[in-house]
Symmetry: C2
Subunit: 152 residues, 2 copies
């Protein structure tokens, strides 16, 4: 079963190369929070942005477009063990789908100025959704990542 | 630009028809929290689940496979206004991508038993990611949804 998708927009980010992102790293919980960028929604979809200004945070679903093959076991940044790729946010994953929650600073027509960018410049955007209270979970456990965070 | 995706699994849910889900509704923040179901990851990808047991919550990216055309303006459940589709979680959206955070109860090989199911039975799964502290945002504003929540 093959599913086909069409990007609705594109990410404008200060990260031009994969190496620029690795240095900030996944385990750095707040490393990307101050990084600003723009999400350009193609004109064809601009009407779909109505009312979005009222939300402070947006869920961005995008493509890790510079990734080649995926691996089922990957070594996360700073970690020493191989982990199942679905237990990580590693980009070398089946379907190469990325997920980031950004802070919406400003909307100017089809351009969303946002903070919290950790995507590569030129990443295709697949969907945007409003972040709501339902997405805030309590009493969370974070498995292997717990030990890593304690370490650094 | 057409992107192609291959599902990594399938949702087993008590919701057999679209109508079963509408009655719980989007604005009901906790309506789905107790709904149990299973996420079956295809055997080919089972290795990618290593270490996932350590996480309490998982991000599920899936397909609204029973949806036809999308609309750029949609009327959310219980709302009286038309909203931009990207300001809503409405399923009739470009690329038909769904996003739900579930609670992981148990893993049995390639089957994840979870709580918080709001997907239709048979929905194709595109990706699974661990939910971490970075996904909990503070001081959030929820625009048009605020008024609706106050009302009901």
């Amino acid at each position: 079963m093959k599913l086909k998708f069409d990007p609705i927009g594109i990410i404008h980010s200060p990260f031009k190369r994969k190496e620029d992102i690795n240095t900030l790293g996944f385990s750095s919980a707040t490393g990307f929070d101050e990084v600003e960028g723009e999400i350009e929604i193609f004109k064809k979809y601009e009407k779909g942005l109505k009312d979005i200004e009222g939300f402070s945070h947006l869920i961005i679903i995008f493509l890790f477009h510079k990734m080649g093959d995926y691996y089922l076991h990957v070594k996360p940044y700073l970690d020493k063990e191989l982990r199942g790729v679905f237990s990580t946010r590693h980009p070398k994953r089946p379907n190469k789908i990325g997920f980031t929650i950004v802070k919406l600073l400003e909307r100017n027509k089809n351009i969303l100025k946002v903070k919290g960018i950790d995507m590569l410049n030129g990443s295709p955007v697949l969907d945007i959704k409003p972040y709501t209270h339902r997405d805030k979970k309590e009493n969370i456990k974070i498995g292997w990542l717990e030990g890593l965070l304690n370490k650094y």
